[in-house]
Symmetry: C2
Subunit: 580 residues, 2 copies
């Protein structure tokens, strides 16, 4: 990863490409790379869909190596949804392929004149940027089918569906899985709209004749990888719960804890939870000839994904994630797995974030557009309105915040205009701190305090009380900003939080690869540096302390069954970034 | 004005009313009253459409007296459009009637249970709050016709159309003029949505058997009023231009100055300007048997309004204001007065701010929804989409900012999410400072630097250069916050800026009425106090320096014909509030 590909889509006479040395980014990756470049090169007050914004794509520090589960790709830009900095990462094959091609990053800048739609084909010999208007308004599944015929099966695709072309603030960038299905999405923050604004429909990554990146200290690296994999496999969450039931193993857990936001955050328990739980889902998947255990990229040793077939045994979608099952399920009062899977398919196909879309639909239900629990209605909204870009679709596709404003809804669960995920911050107060203070807007992955609050991973902090949540969220946010830079799947957090030898193995993987000594302090320093950069960008974009808050209703409306409000004070929230 | 009426719409068992002593508010009025109460009683981080927001209605300090042109009424709340504090004022009869009824303010709080629609009838003997669901979704003209049959013609009405009931962020509160037409609107900032959220359709104000408020020093007051009226009548703007051609006298002036934003702020001159100028408008009005000179309330000595009849000589709407003629005209590439008048009628009828609505339509045109200049299309959008509350109508009714987001438009002329009015800040840099820094969002009335930049009233500051604009805007914003508290029409600013004896007469009017000595320093002190309160509220609502900025395109895109950008620096903008 010694080079950076820079593409100026707005160059006079048509898109121009250039290659530059990776420099400081040769030993960086993922979120550290995207956030550093965005902070350095993008004016924080620019229009997110304008020529001044840049779309930065970066594989992780260990992507393209033999390190296990190192296939996360990061996409960074100024977010059209939050107006702040955004790093959205996904699994799939793209990170490994891009890293093997030797790129530390792709930086896409400018806006083309005219309305041509482009695709970018990258292999070891060249980069080809070409007009292909035959792809216009194709959604991801038909698009990838078409592109497979042109480019074959030994590639990875990154693409946008119609939502990205329509510049919707919930639009995602799809990355293909090993079977070349567009199922792994850089979902959050509207990164797909930024790709759409640059009129790029697809990036085709072909690493034919490229080799794995080689470690500086092969022995140390190899030994560390073995211990690392063992550590993942022996951990009850990463080695048992996730492979067997996927992330949806959490539905029953959160529902029992009373932290499962139901009917747009009105209660913390959902009657229909067991019907849509990971256990029910896995059983159904196996019964229909799908898969309950499947990896989103080669080299994954957790395999938390799966294949969800329809009633006739035909592929419908990948196994919907917990947050998707929640957003389209309990949040909307829907307890039918086939409805949820159908919505997951349409989200992936149109190319929208499943969290933002599901929350928007639930907010619209709260505004009287549909009844809670209306399965057909929910599908119609996503498929026929968002998918066809109708005015109603543009409202929903604009996200939960816009939907709330359009329909005058009081209870709009967003922070920095990004929809809250599947954990109520009143019952899981640590994740509430993360939602409020993350540079990314409401985002569970930015500092997954659910681990310690509910799963008792990495300690035990009472989820119902404010005490200890700031420190918990702070430490997790710092660690996450580092892990998001490595290319390693965030689910390694479970074993590395609980098992010191697995944490050491991660350090040794990095150290062995780059030929350095890596310590826990280095992880903290990198994470802090990334967060500081991101926070400075957000400050320039206009964010202040009042943006580091949950919506007021979490402080004024008590959530059944515990009947509590969010108890962390504003003064405490303002102490999260205490290292600046 | 020794009492305040407080109505709790959310009280158990139905709305409750109480009367309290006016206290400090007995000698205050208008914006000083509304902003003080909102700052004191409304949590800045509350949901603007929720129970914690309050709608405060206050006549001016001189309303209900014999003082000339003292009929402005202020409405305050947290704005659903900007998310900050809002004071929106209008002419019409309401202020005079409410003041004669003895109320320094009406404070409406809470949200009713259920979906009943209320009306509030206030006369000298009692206040009646009653359910009247037969008014549901009636627009302002048919509503007022219906209410006239119930309450007669000797009243003043404040009401919302369907937009307010639908909680649109552009919704206005209509105030009736002397002929009981719902033509004078508290337009900006979505105050109609706040009234809608409290489920109040109309307020009927009846001052039968009430007398004018009496001054403490009758002689001083009377003498001051005489000098004041003379001063207004002899000033070329207030005494000649405005009576003859209305505010639309500005179309030719701004177009010649190259500061007339055309086709969504792409150029500063409009080919069709003369066709829609005040001169053309007045000629047409007179030809069709309408009026080119008419007062919006009794006691007005400027008479800048008029009556616009259709081709057949029947009343169509009141004379559209300059900002309306611009927003629906040049901003949208439309040069047909009948189209603009029809849109003005529908805005008033539905109950939306003409500036916000016109700018939203122009932004939608820029986003490809219609061609610039499409008269029929523009009418269809307002009448059939906004007026019927379709999803597209909800986008447009959500304002220019929401429209820009829904259609992925780059050039979105808003500050604090409120649409810019009819003066390009690149050519009239003083008004750019006001747009950027006002507590109200982009608002020309908050500090009308056009006066000094273009009309050469109150001095001469070169409109094309940044020098002197901060001081100009600061002084005007301070003076305006005071004038907005008096109930006097802002157009008195022209004579009081130019004629020291008219300024002194205004001081003596206030001094004579309240039996005090009033000086220029008092005016400044009151204005600063109001602005400081408003700014503190906005800070609590999350506003910081980055919110005191124009959209970036004003700094990066040069405006023909002068080909200049907005030149006032961020550092200078941050010096506007220098007295804190």
């Amino acid at each position: 990863m010694d080079k950076i590909l820079r593409i100026d889509m707005g160059a006079a006479g048509g898109p121009q490409q250039s290659t530059e040395k990776a420099g400081e980014f040769a030993a960086l990756g993922g979120r550290a790379t995207t956030s550093t470049i965005v902070a350095k090169e993008v004016p924080p007050d620019c229009h997110p869909l304008g020529a001044e914004n840049k779309l930065v794509i970066a594989p992780g520090m260990l992507s393209g190596t033999a390190a296990a589960i190192s296939g996360r790709i990061s996409v960074g830009c100024k977010s059209p949804l939050t107006g702040g900095i955004k790093e959205s990462n996904a699994g799939g094959q793209a990170a490994q392929v891009l890293a093997r091609l030797g790129y530390a990053a792709i930086i896409i800048e400018g806006i083309p004149e005219g309305d041509d739609l482009y695709k970018i084909h990258i292999n070891k010999d060249r980069v080809e940027i070409s007009v292909d208007n035959s792809n216009k308004l194709l959604d991801n599944y038909p698009l990838i089918e078409k592109l497979r015929k042109e480019y074959g099966d030994k590639v990875a695709f990154m693409s946008i569906g119609s939502a990205g072309e329509r510049l919707m603030a919930s639009a995602s960038i799809a990355c293909t899985d090993p079977e070349l299905r567009p199922t792994r999405h850089c979902g959050r923050g509207g990164v797909g709209a930024v790709m759409g604004s640059k009129q790029i429909k697809a990036i085709i990554l072909d690493d034919t004749d490229c080799k794995n990146r080689q470690p500086q200290d092969a022995e140390k690296f190899k030994a560390a990888n073995r211990v690392f994999v063992e550590g993942i496999r022996k951990h009850p969450v990463a080695g048992e719960g996730l492979p067997a039931y996927g992330t949806n193993v959490l539905t029953n857990v959160l529902n029992e804890a009373g932290g499962y936001p139901t009917n747009n955050f009105k209660t913390g328990q959902f009657d229909g939870a067991t019907k849509i739980s990971g256990e029910s889902q896995a059983e159904l998947e196996i019964k229909r000839g799908g898969k309950a255990t499947h990896g989103c990229h080669r080299g994954c040793v957790i395999q938390c994904s799966g294949i969800y077939n329809d009633k006739d045994g035909n592929y419908l979608t990948k196994q919907p994630e917990y947050e998707t099952v929640w957003s389209h399920g309990g949040h909307c009062g829907i307890s039918d797995l086939d409805t949820i899977a159908t919505l997951d398919y349409w989200d992936d196909n149109i190319g929208v974030d499943t969290i933002e879309m599901g929350v928007a639909v639930g907010v619209a239900m709260d505004g009287g557009l549909l009844e809670f629990g209306d399965c057909e209605g929910a599908i119609r909204l996503v498929r026929d309105e968002v998918g066809k870009g109708t005015p109603l679709g543009r409202i929903l596709g604009g996200g939960a915040g816009m939907t709330g404003k359009a329909f005058g809804v009081m209870r709009v669960p967003v922070v920095k205009n990004q929809a809250l995920p599947a954990y109520d911050p009143r019952t899981v107060q640590g994740i509430g701190v993360t939602y409020a203070t993350s540079t990314q807007g409401a985002d569970h992955t930015a500092g997954y305090a659910v681990a310690t609050n509910i799963l008792k991973v990495g300690g035990d902090v009472d989820p119902l009380k404010p005490e200890g949540q700031i420190e918990l969220s702070r430490n997790l946010q710092i660690a996450t900003a580092s892990i998001d830079s490595t290319g390693l799947c965030l689910f390694i957090a479970f074993p590395i939080l609980d098992q010191p030898e697995t944490f050491q193995a991660m350090l040794d993987l990095l150290g062995g690869f780059y030929g350095i000594e890596m310590t826990g302090d280095d992880v903290v320093a990198l994470g802090q540096k990334v967060l500081t950069l991101e926070r400075e960008f957000n400050k320039g974009a206009g964010f202040g302390p009042a943006d580091d808050r949950l919506p007021r209703f979490f402080s004024t409306e008590k959530l059944p069954p515990h009947n509590i409000t969010f108890g962390v004070t504003d003064e405490e929230l303002d102490q999260l970034y205490n290292w600046d």
